[in-house]
Amino acid sequence: MSSAQIEIQLIASIVAIACAIPGTFLVLRKMALISDAISHSILPGLVLGFFITHDLNSPLLIITAALSGVVTVVLVEFIQKTQLVKEDTAIGLVFPVLFSIGVIMIAKNANDVHLDTDAILLGELAFAPFDRFLLNGSDLGPKSLWIIGTILLITISLLFAFFKELKISTFDAGLATALGFSPVVIHYGLMSVASITVVGSFDAVGAILVVALMIAPAATAYLLTDNLKKMLGLSVVFGVFAAIAGYWLAHWLDASISGSMTTILGIVFLIVYLFAPKRGLISVLYRNRQQQIEVSLLTFLLHLNNHQEISERHINHLNEHINWRRVKSKSVLDLATKNNMIVIDKSIISLTEKGKDFTDKAIDYIITNDHSKIESIKEDFFLFRG
């Protein structure tokens, strides 16, 4: 590994961490799309900053860009407050307009400058190490490393300083107000941090990757845990993993680094989405299926309990009476037999002692809706699962 490679991975990782922290709160506050809006609407801010300074490297550019990010948030809030349209529509209206203004400003006035939309949207991490930060002629490392490092430092210190406030206002804005924190101040504080992070990172990794780095790790972590601290930790881990793995994927394919980082993030999310122990797609589907079978079994047992006459308890009668398909009735029948709840004698089904007991309890529960009654059944259902 050359030093440039190390630097790229370092920058990518720091960007990932810096994005993951505000990203977690955005996801929790259901404002994930604000990051997308900000990442697009910083364009006019950048252009404006460039007009003022005529210098692409001026720090003023970052400030104006971050300001236009905040302006986006304010505009969205304003449109939303008029209650003429919903929040998502407000977001969808504001950022294309700001972006258009930016594009037109570039086209009209700065056509000959290196400020094209591709570069802003996509970014090029591979060039980051070439843009050195020089102080008194000595080389202090890549400039974007310094910028994003500073932003990360600010973010982390703000996070530690206001963790409690952020937590309360995220989960219970009413309580936060009652306790004397201003949710509005915290809201705009968070938005400003998000905005600055977007601006600081897009230079290195591009606007789209910033959005991905903000939302994807947080969403992935949210599937795995409910604990805010764990969620923050996990999203940082996912972000850094994607940064480093993405770099090597790009290295191997000779393709865009930000693209491959996003792809890794997508793959990680897909895996967690499918296999997460509690919230994953597979476990949700499995649970639904289990519940379906349990309900079927219960219906079946209740049916048997209600009918003493032999004709109703004939094995072939099930299909028509409870309106099940053949396969389903068979699987329910097997399940019940396996648990010694029924006996089948010459195609006539009868409840066993255990089955009767179980059904009585279930009826008891259905009538009284008392959870204590079902405790023992629950254990039985766990037996079924095994």
Binding site: D88, G92, F99, I208, A216, G259, T263, G266, V284
Partner: protein, 344 residues
């Protein structure tokens, strides 16, 4: 037009997500076929757009992640993957690859007559389907549970709407590009929403707004050099939206503000009148004159409101004295009663 449904279904940003999600489809279609045939690329875009749309639905339905997170996630991940593929394609030893990214930012000027016909026919098909399933769409939109009890296959209709939105977006991509597509989908519908509460009128209005912003935008961008079409169209659409927000008669900000001020003025007038009534009530002769001075410490009183009351013939003012007319007395008494009733 289809945007109306997106806006009303609170899926406004779906357009944004899908237009980004179409990118890997374009890239993959190119990788497989090696051609730049518009139709092939469009099919690729369509497939990956649909995939994105349904994955979003899957995420919001099956997990506790909210729709905004799902949208942002799919948007960025698909787009990033698309970028990866595009850069990968660019490094391939094949001279045919340039111009793929034109899809990204859109080039209305590069459209061929054939493309336009193609788009027109797809629009026509959309229109026919929309009319055929009008009733179903409408019910699903406003009361999904009701639609279910009526026995409509909700999922099918839902998939139908989503597919049409995706098709519209993918077609529009060529014209205005990824970023501005969402505005094209949303802005006309959001503007139309301000003018009407009826779905039918809203759809027609949205189509009208969309078409006119397209025409005006293209005209403006053609009249000056160096202006790309897409952004101008979006800005024109935004002007429509802003105009609608402010001037729409029933929901607009301007009229709401006017109504608000009017209400407050009425209230102050009534307050003054009620206060006068209290004074007058204690005298046997209702038109007994009182000094204007005693009103000064009262909130709702201004010289203007006094004049207004006089014009309404509720009071007579002569010099620095005022007296209540029978009409005013009657009105004030009723006013008082009404308020009393409401308080009960």
């Amino acid at each position: 037009m289809l945007g109306s449904f997106a806006v009303l279904r609170k899926q406004s940003l779906l357009g944004d997500a899908i237009s980004h999600a179409a990118l890997p489809g374009i890239a993959i279609a190119f990788l497989i076929t090696g051609t730049k045939e518009t139709n092939v690329l469009l099919i690729g875009a369509l497939v990956s757009g649909l995939l994105g749309a349904f994955w979003i639905r899957g995420i919001t339905k099956r997990t506790h992640l909210k729709s905004d997170t799902a949208l942002g996630l799919i948007l960025s991940i698909f787009f990033g993957f698309g970028m990866l593929l595009l850069t990968y394609i660019q490094k391939l030893p094949n001279a045919n690859q340039s111009g793929l990214d034109k899809f990204l930012f859109g080039q209305a000027a590069t459209l061929l007559a054939r493309d336009v016909w193609f788009m027109a026919s797809v629009t026509f098909v959309c229109l026919v389907v929309l009319l055929l399933f009008w009733k179903e769409f409408k019910i699903l939109l406003f009361d999904a549970d009701y639609a279910k009890t009526l026995g409509f296959n909700i999922q099918l209709i839902d998939i139908l709407i989503t597919s049409f939105i995706v098709i519209a977006i993918v077609l529009g991509l060529q014209t205005v590009g990824v970023v501005l597509m969402s505005a094209m989908l949303l802005a006309p519908a959001a503007a139309a929403r301000q003018w009407t509460n009826s779905l039918g009128i809203m759809v027609v209005l949205a189509a009208f707004f969309g078409a006119s912003s397209g025409v005006i935008g293209t005209a403006i961008s053609a009249s000056q050099n160096n202006l790309s079409t897409g952004p101008v169209i979006v800005l024109v659409a935004a002007v429509f939206v802003g105009f609608s927000f402010i001037f729409s008669p029933s929901r607009g900000l301007l009229f709401r503000q006017i109504r608000f001020i009017q209400n407050r003025k009425d209230l102050e007038l009534h307050k003054t009148l009620a206060f006068m009534f209290e004074i007058v009530k204690s005298h046997e002769n209702i038109s007994h004159p009182h000094a204007v001075k005693i009103l000064n410490n009262f909130h709702g009183y201004t010289r203007k409101s006094l004049g207004k009351l006089e014009r309404k013939e509720y009071i007579n003012v002569s010099g620095s004295m005022w007296s209540m007319t029978p009409k005013g007395y009657h009105f004030a008494a009723n006013l008082y009663n009404q308020q009393g009733n409401e308080n009960e």
